[in-house]
């Protein structure tokens, strides 16, 4: 950052005199922001503390000391909630900016210690009995409530993850892939498909009815990944049958929806997701047909396919990029 550049720009007539003066003034009293450093410290602190408490209670579960630890966790949870509750602004359907990042991270700590607490209660006293669904359902409800009332995106992600846990699947793309690959069940795939489409629907509704419109991205992010992965694995699962083509058709229809959505929001991220997942789907289909040929010619064709198709998809990406930029 140097004012020399701005002086040159001023001489060339790109900026006005007052702007130059303003910038000179700003440079003289330039502030050095510790914002991200402090935020990272808070994040690390919350992560270490909640992990530590989790292990602490697990190791001391049979000793007398564990009740003190439990009281400590409850105190942290209540204290943090109380602090955040006092500072929070009233609920609004639009975005409510949080007072500061301290608020954000203490709320996070409150929720994490709440989860540890509930988990402990369930393990030690079986509060929810053998009704394991309820044991995940109630924390999930609390998380969703906190996410909406306090307007916290991080807790919304946690709530969505917990929704997945309640249904028995992971919403993290990487874990989901390995989970599905290990299980060999159609129910798993269908649950994933249902959850993914549900999340996409919620994303659509929050935007349509202006209920926390800025949650749209988080819902759509998880929904898109889960739906695409479920559809792809649906195809791999029914690989042998002719009917499997239906999965691909569904996937392309879903791509079309996400594509239009991304264009509307000018989101490069979702465009990239569309491209990657549809590329995998189309390639799987092509390989399927080539494998039927089963000779050297098919292998050559396969190589050609990948070279040509990758070039094609690069052209598509470049084209989309231009299109979104010109919007």
């Amino acid at each position: 950052m140097n004012t020399g550049l701005y002086e040159k720009l001023f001489e060339e007539g790109c900026i006005r005199q007052e702007t130059l003066n303003n910038i000179r003034e700003k440079k003289r009293n330039q502030l050095f922001s510790l914002h991200w450093e402090l935020k990272s410290l808070l994040y690390l602190g919350v992560m270490l503390l909640s992990t530590g408490l989790g292990i602490l209670i697990y190791k001391n579960i049979d000793t007398i000391g564990h009740q003190i630890i439990l009281a400590f966790i409850a105190a942290i949870c209540i204290g943090c909630f109380y602090y955040c509750y006092r500072r929070k602004k009233p609920f609004n359907k639009e975005k409510v900016n949080s007072p500061d990042s301290l608020f954000d991270y203490l709320l996070l700590l409150a929720c994490l210690s709440f989860l540890i607490f509930v988990g402990y209660l369930q393990f030690q006293y079986s509060v929810f009995g053998t009704n394991y669904g309820l044991a995940t359902f109630i924390p999930m409800l609390v998380l969703f409530y906190v996410a909406y009332d306090f307007d916290h995106l991080g807790i919304l992600s946690m709530a969505i993850t917990n929704l997945g846990v309640w249904l028995g699947i992971s919403v993290n793309p990487m874990t989901l892939v390995s989970d599905i690959a290990e299980s060999n069940g159609r129910p798993f795939i269908l649950t994933g498909l249902f959850l993914g489409l549900f999340l996409v629907l919620v994303a659509f509704l929050s935007e349509r009815f202006h209920i926390k419109k800025h949650f749209h991205f988080t819902y759509l992010h998880f929904g898109t990944h889960v739906t695409f992965i479920a559809l792809l694995f649906g195809y791999f699962y029914d690989f042998e049958q002719e009917i499997s083509i239906l999965w691909i058709i569904l996937l392309l229809a879903f791509t079309w929806y996400i594509y239009n959505n991304a264009i509307r929001h000018k989101s490069f991220y979702f465009l990239l997701l569309c491209t990657i997942y549809s590329y995998i789907a189309i390639s799987a289909l092509v390989i399927h047909f080539l494998v039927k040929g089963n000779d050297l010619g098919a292998i050559y064709l396969g190589f050609f396919y990948f070279i040509v198709s990758a070039i094609g998809f690069i052209k598509v990406l470049i084209h989309l990029n231009k299109k979104v930029k010109s919007l």
Binding site: H35, L44, L48, L153, G154, M158, N162, F268, L272, N321
Partner: protein, 395 residues
């Protein structure tokens, strides 16, 4: 030497500056447009998502093209020799120059992929060739030659393409070259090695810092700050107790026993703890982000080093106490800096970065923190058993 159009590079840095000024509200839309018109950039450099996509697709193209060519040539003997890899590397490099000069790609993903693939192919052809030559002889010097070759190759690529990752590779390979070279010829090599590495990385930092302050080589300014960062890290690691002790004991013939100390232990221990604090101190004094953030990370490394040799408290208590301490420090600093003091502020200064748009922070929180309850709850659903939950962090 640099391959890119220098006028455009200059315009690009002015445009970047203007984008930040615009995001901070220092200039208005009209002025921003004036600047964009006055300093046009002809590069093709799409945003980070497109870059990632194009990078992956280019890798696919390259690997299948090479595969197809090898398949066609599989009947000939040529692909068994290093000439074949050399040929592929040169062809990829020519493609890279073509993309950059003719198609004006600049950090587009395609040039990144071509750069790393051609570098990798050239390196493998060199290793292949070395294997042929050294087959009968003692191959103890292989590392020395390989790191030397990587250094020369990456120095050339850095000068030509000014890529930051290449610059980091270059410095690391130089350090490796000096390291192995000193082991071969040095006087009391093992004992003097840490000090030599300290001098080397200190010297690299000094030069890079000088270049940055004098604003020389403006097209390489990103490379220079990457070099600064990596040399600071090297400077610390060459005196870190853990690195010195374990590396030394690996390299020498008689391994150290557990609890056995090394000569000058007091010096390396003080280095381990004082350097991070010095970094933070200088970072705050000079308002240098690289020093400051580097210092924070090194404090964590110092803590791990200490814990590796002395277990005073059980891990979970350390986690809890460290967590409370970190939250406390951040809390007090935030309160203290509520209104800016001494030129510091806790408030965010906008820089108009594209990643903010996808709310990375919330996703990081979601992915890292919520995995603990997930692991535990999923486990409970499986059978209500409490067996191996300890590894998941929470219970």
């Amino acid at each position: 030497m640099i391959i890119y159009n220098k006028e455009w590079l200059n315009s690009l840095s002015i445009q970047d500056e203007a984008a930040i000024a615009f995001a901070q509200g220092n200039i208005d839309t009209e002025e921003h447009n004036n600047i964009k018109e006055k300093y046009p950039v002809g590069f093709y450099s799409p945003n980070i998502f497109m870059r990632a996509g194009i990078f992956l697709l280019t890798l696919i193209i390259l690997s299948f093209s090479i595969g197809l060519l090898s398949l066609v040539l599989s009947d000939f003997k040529i692909i068994d020799s290093f000439y074949y890899l050399l040929f592929l590397g040169v062809v990829t490099y020519v493609a890279l120059e073509f993309m950059v000069i003719e198609k004006r790609h600049y950090q587009s993903g395609a040039d990144d992929a071509l750069m790393w693939v051609s570098g990798g192919l050239l390196l493998f052809s060199f290793i292949f060739m070395m294997d042929n030559i050294f087959l009968s002889k003692n191959s103890g010097q292989a590392e020395l030659f390989i790191s030397g070759f990587i250094f020369l190759l990456s120095a050339y690529f850095m000068a030509r393409f000014a890529d930051t990752l290449i610059a980091i590779t270059c410095i690391l390979s130089l350090a490796a070259f000096v390291f192995y070279g000193w082991l071969e010829i040095g006087f009391y090599a093992l004992q003097t090695l840490p000090f030599l590495m300290m001098i080397l990385s200190g010297a690299i930092y000094y030069v890079a810092n000088l270049l940055q302050q004098r604003q020389q080589y403006p097209f390489y300014k990103n490379c220079i700050s990457a070099v600064k960062m990596i040399s600071l890290l090297l400077l610390y690691l060459s005196g870190n107790y853990f690195v010195v002790r374990e590396l030394g004991s690996n390299l020498s013939d008689d391994a150290l026993k557990e609890g056995q100390s090394i000569p000058f232990a007091w010096f390396f221990w003080s280095w381990t703890f004082i350097i991070p604090l010095l970094y933070i101190g200088f970072g705050l004094k000079k308002k240098d982000t690289v020093l400051l953030r580097g210092g924070f990370i090194l404090v964590a490394i110092a803590a791990f080093t200490f814990r590796n040799y002395y277990h005073i408290l059980p891990t979970e208590l350390v986690l809890v106490l460290a967590g409370i301490a970190l939250i406390g420090i951040a809390w007090f600093t935030m309160k203290y800096l509520k209104s800016p003091r001494n030129g510091f502020t806790a408030a965010e200064i906008a820089d108009g970065h594209i990643l903010d748009k996808i709310q990375v922070e919330s996703l990081i929180v979601g992915e890292t923190l919520s995995s603990q309850p997930v692991g535990a709850d999923a486990h409970r659903m499986g059978g209500g058993n409490f067996g191996g939950g300890g590894s998941s962090g929470s219970f």
